[in-house]
Amino acid sequence: MANSVTQDGIATVLSSQSSSSVRPEIVVQVIDLKPVGNRYTFNANDGKKKIKVVLPATLTSDIISGKIQNLGLIRLLDYTANDIPGNSEEKYLLVTKCEVVACALDSEIKDSTGIVLKPKDKFVAKSASQRINEQSGNAAPAARMAMTRRVHPLVSLSPYQGSWTIKVRVTNKGVMKNYKNARGEGCVFYVELTDEEGTQIQATMFNAAAKKFYDTLQMGKVFYISKGSLKLANNQFKTVQNDYEMTLNENSVVEESKNEEMSVPETKFNFVPIDELGAYVNQKDLIDVIGVVQSVSPTMSIRRKSDNEMIPKRDITLADETKKTVVVSLWNDLATGLGQELLDMADKYPIIAIKSLKVGDFQGVSLSTVSRSNVVINPDIPEATKLRSWYDSEGKETSMSAIGSGMSPSANNGSRAMYSDRVCLSHFTTNPSLGTDKPVFFSTRAYISFIKPDQVMWYRACKTCHEKVTEAMYSGYWCENCQKKNEEYSLRYIMAVKVSDSTGEAWFSAFNDEAEKIIGCTADELRKLKSEEGKVNKFQTKLKEATWSEHLFRVSVSQQEYNSEKRQKITVKSVSRIDFAAETRLLLRDISKNKNTSQF
């Protein structure tokens, strides 16, 4: 049956999912093919049933080129059936491999008996089961509302689809702002909406619509919303991960859902451990943290430079399992309202999670709330439980240090600062003017790629103060610094090494202690090897052995004048071995940071 759908294909697929090794290949018709962001979704029709299908972004080109067409037939070769989150009765298929069987047919294939299961029928069944779970009081009207409404997942919305209804929780709300522009005056506010699948979208309302919905749309409540309009999101002002943003006008419909349970994930956090905050200092990204409140300051009044207004501020100190503390400045309402709450419960060392904090460099690292920041005290999430049990068992007693103090260039305990301020070598090559005013510090993981054998690798140093010594008259060596003549000198390294990583290469300068770690022997020993005669050049061998070894470096970058030209100078402040488990954790964090969080 080459040009038709597999009979009962969808039913077969759904029933075979329990024994997962068999994946029947079925032919289905593509219905309602539409783009969602950069991927496509469609409803697969086998003549009897329909199931939602999501195609990966890799197949988008096949759709655009016309190979996969709406109303056409495709054979599903590799896929997984997943539950639609929050809806245990429906599944969707995530197809990873398929092949085109036929191009667009004339119409939707229907069962020979002429009965087609339309989505509305399925939805009635859902609301019937919902009705059983309803509370007795308001069951009738709520169930009636649910029956006539088909809820669309936020991820399926697009500017080209007119009639949709979404069921969302307000997870963030901005204040009403008044503005004046060329067209006149107005007021505006926005809300962040999250649906059951966790997808988020920003919705903005102006003037009449703003006034109409400002009081209705309360934080934390669930609403059915329809008749809004979508457009591509303005990247500069993106607060949530969504290709689109929504605008509601006076004709939009907003109805509160009073009784139905909605399993909307509360606020989606992406926590940064305190000891990794260094990398975000003065960046424009806002971050989330979670920690135990160790102390709460009284409210202070700070004069805002822009308009001389006095605004309240309160500082709290947070600690987490990395045994580091950081100061978070709460501003305005957060300082007065929430801040007071925290002060009252300070002796219980509550856990707070804060979303959208700005990272500054006051005292090394400091966090500040912005108007968008969202604070939850003792949130009901696994990270909070973990923190609570850590603090109660060991955290309370451990002495911790402020994250800012680890930012100093002290070379000895470089290991603590090795996981903050992490950059790739491309950061140095693409920013030639780094460290123009004062030196900047970074940590980076790289391979030694080249050590020039015929460079000046060492200098004669005073054994006491390590400064350069000069040959004294007749014999001995004179140290200008100590104002003493020494019998002997010691050799100390001053070496240029080339390093490489996957993003580029750079030249580092290494002094004695760090170079010793790289080469594996003292400068005196290396000089001895250099002067040795013999078949094997032990000196070259020693350098070769040091090449292509991977290290974790802490470096300072500054500008040096060289022939009246400014050149970037990178100096190694400390070297340490790679801790593979810690590096892997960093990589995992980077992967999840770069992941496109739109789920479909």
Partner: protein, 106 residues
């Protein structure tokens, strides 16, 4: 690289997707007997390994073999992975290798 017999990276909960197929996983050895090893997977589920443990076993053991059920493997290759192994990192690898980066793996 010998790709004739690929094995999928799994943890305890991913095993059920590969029943009858070749898998590889790392377990923390909880107990061993003649001919079998009981291990804890990187996501804290119990895994039974059919096959004698190596003579001097370490805390972590990598097992490559056929998944006979959702919690047992008939081992073909067993390798000591030492005592310092980060199970959380391995667990994340399994999730990524079977999830959005599945196309990177054979």
């Amino acid at each position: 690289m010998d790709t004739s017999s690929p094995s999928a990276f799994v943890n305890g909960s991913l095993m059920r997707r590969y029943i009858g197929q070749k898998v590889r996983t790392v377990v923390q050895v909880i107990g061993s007997d003649v001919g079998s090893v009981v291990g804890k997977s990187t996501d804290d589920l119990q895994i039974f390994v059919k096959g004698s443990p190596p003579t001097t076993p370490t805390t972590y053991l990598e097992v490559i073999g056929i998944a006979e059920s959702e919690n047992s493997i008939r081992a073909e290759v067993k390798t000591n992975f030492g005592n310092n192994f980060d199970p959380l990192n391995y667990n994340e690898l399994c999730k990524l290798a079977n999830g959005e980066f599945k196309h990177f793996f054979i």
